[in-house]
């Protein structure tokens, strides 16, 4: 299998500006994405996901390292790269004052399609993305989810075999997110090679064959979702105790019932540990806590989040503590 995307030692330094020092956004990124597979680039805010995507899609020049996309060098053969890819950036980039149809028609024409083909393709894509009814309205009147879909449609104008999606579901409500996942899965089924960035482990898990975890400009782990989860330790049990004084007791109890380290936060009275026995174990822990006289405000079984991955891989939390699993 040949690699659709290959990057070696990518470095990008944003020069210092007034009021800020220089930022080493990428610090030696290596990536290989075999033809027909999906790579999920997983990382918190500011990790360097967008910078990576912008370099691979020829919008930004790397300061060091090299990359080929569809076999073409992103710096010296940028025209060829652009003819081979579709890009949907982090923020929907469509013309607010044109209608959905006009946007797609325009991008089709700019892709080099004759008028008739561009018209047909615009209709086809509106249909495919269930935007046919809204196709005659200006984008200003679209919801965030509709904009996102139209932006993705625009990326597909030239039927690219190679697609870059930068946080395609950030800001979408749970239903729109599931809809977007379906669309993306459909594309992948047809053989599209995909590089997608996300802040959600669950999303990478759902869509990607391989996940690369990126932090402060470096790939800190890479593997299949299962490999990564094995490292992180599957589901988590999270307990919030009523009385702060009970924290040490609860910690001890949880430590003996669950696997590995128990992490706890004095302030929120929250304890977290890797689960080994699913719901059954949860019930047992509730029981045991009750027996020990530890009052519980909340207890849940949840999938590991990006934050858990980070804690396991780096020993520190993501810089952004508010990352939440919201599906």
């Amino acid at each position: 299998m040949t690699n659709a995307i290959e990057a070696e030692g990518l470095v990008k330094v944003y020069p210092a500006r007034r009021g800020s020092t220089e930022v080493r956004a990428l610090d030696g990124v290596d990536l290989q994405v075999p033809q027909g597979t999906v790579l999920g680039l997983l990382g918190p805010n500011g990790a360097g996901k967008t910078t990576t995507v912008r370099i691979l899609t020829t919008l930004l020049r790397p300061d060091a390292g090299r990359a080929t996309v569809a076999g073409y060098d992103v710096v010296t053969q940028s025209n060829e790269v652009r003819a081979s890819i579709g890009l949907s950036g982090q923020y929907a980039a469509v013309d607010e004052n044109l209608t959905g149809w006009e946007n797609l028609y325009m991008f089709g024409r700019l892709y080099g399609m004759p008028k008739a083909d561009a018209k047909m393709r615009a209709n086809e894509l509106l249909e495919q993305f269930t935007l046919a009814d809204a196709g005659g309205r200006t984008i200003k009147t679209y919801s965030g989810g509709m904009r996102r879909r139209l932006d993705l449609a625009a990326a597909l104008i030239g039927k690219p075999n190679l697609l870059f999606l930068d946080e395609p579901t950030t800001g979408l409500d749970p239903r729109s997110r599931l809809g977007m996942w379906d669309v993306i899965r459909g594309l992948v089924r047809e053989g599209t090679t995909l590089l997608l960035t996300t802040q959600y482990l669950e999303e990478a898990d759902e869509l990607a064959d391989t996940i690369a975890v990126v932090d402060t400009g470096k790939i800190i782990a890479q593997g299949t979702a299962d490999e990564l989860k094995a490292q992180v330790g599957g589901e988590r049990i999270e307990v919030v105790v009523r009385d702060r004084a009970m924290l040490p007791a609860a910690r001890e109890l949880l430590g003996s019932a669950a696997a590995g380290e128990v992490e706890f936060d004095e302030h929120t009275r929250r304890l977290t540990a890797a689960s080994t026995g699913g719901a059954q174990q949860l019930v047992a822990i509730v029981q045991a806590m009750g027996d020990a006289g530890i009052e519980i405000d909340d207890i849940t079984l949840r999938r590991p989040t990006l934050d858990d991955v980070f804690l396991t891989l780096t020993g520190h939390h993501t810089a952004d503590e508010t990352v939440e699993e919201n599906v």
Partner: protein
């Protein structure tokens, strides 16, 4: 590279189409551009006009209108600059740059569209001029040449606008910057008052100012009063000097704009 060349014209036409489509969707922009100019017409024709006697006794409104046209056209750079920063901020420029299209088309398409837009505004202003008493006294050929000069100047100002638009961080700055550069240019000129009434150090500026030469050129071509003809080259050959200004602006700002565009976030 050859693919890029052959598509440049058709890509530019698509971009022009896109920019023209937007105009009726944001009518406020055109309406305020026109209102601003009409406000100047009313202010100077009816409020200050009586206090400014023209040597030789021409009609002040006929004297004023070509200056208003030139002033409006000079402000065309603001429209372009704001549009360009807006496209940058909304990520559209990135999208264009990710397509296998001609890169110059994004700029040339916009300058063409903005020139057509200014032509529309010019038509409205000419009609307004006719209402307040402005008249054309020369033949069709002179009239068309005057219009061509105005639109040529609009096109050149659009290139200046692109360069400004790509050089500033946001639309507010684009607006402010064009405002503070273009406004003095239109006032240190022959548009509203006799240049001789300006302080001595400003007089050469008023004389060579492209807004002045464009105004003088169109006054002559429309057959409107042009009482302040200096002895210098700009006074004697306003049409040629205006053309020269257009070439100079184009040669400076078009390459600057294109280079800026190529280097944008690369």
């Amino acid at each position: 590279m050859s693919v890029q060349q052959s598509g440049a014209v058709s890509d530019a036409m698509v971009i022009t189409w896109r920019n023209l489509k937007r105009i009726p969707r944001i009518p406020e922009l055109a309406i305020f551009a026109i209102l601003q100019s009409i406000m100047f017409v009313l202010l100077f024709a009816f409020v200050f006009g009586g206090a400014i006697p023209l040597p030789g006794g021409g009609d002040y409104k006929e004297f004023l209108m070509p200056g208003i046209f030139a002033q409006t056209i000079a402000f065309a750079s603001a429209t372009t600059a704001i549009g360009m920063t807006d496209d940058m901020g909304k990520g559209l420029i990135d999208r264009f740059r990710s397509l296998p299209m001609s890169r110059s088309a994004v700029l040339s398409g916009r300058t063409v569209a903005d020139t057509i837009y200014q032509a529309g505004i010019l038509v409205v202003l000419m009609l307004a001029g006719l209402v307040v008493g402005w008249r054309v006294h020369n033949g069709l050929a002179e009239f068309l040449l005057a219009v061509a000069l105005l639109l040529g100047f609009a096109h050149v100002m659009a290139w200046l606008g692109i360069w400004i638009g790509l050089s500033v961080p946001n639309t507010e700055t684009a607006q402010q910057l064009t405002f503070v550069t273009i406004f003095p240019l239109t006032f240190i000129s022959n548009v509203f008052v006799p240049p001789a009434s300006l302080p001595a150090i400003l007089q050469p500026i008023a004389e060579w100012n492209p807004v002045s030469t464009l105004t003088a050129a169109t006054r002559e071509l429309f057959g409107n009063p042009n009482p302040y003809v200096g002895d210098g080259i700009p006074g004697q050959y306003p049409i040629l000097v205006t053309l020269a200004w257009m070439v100079v602006f184009l040669v400076i700002f078009a390459p600057l704009a294109i280079r800026k565009y190529r280097n944008t976030s690369r």
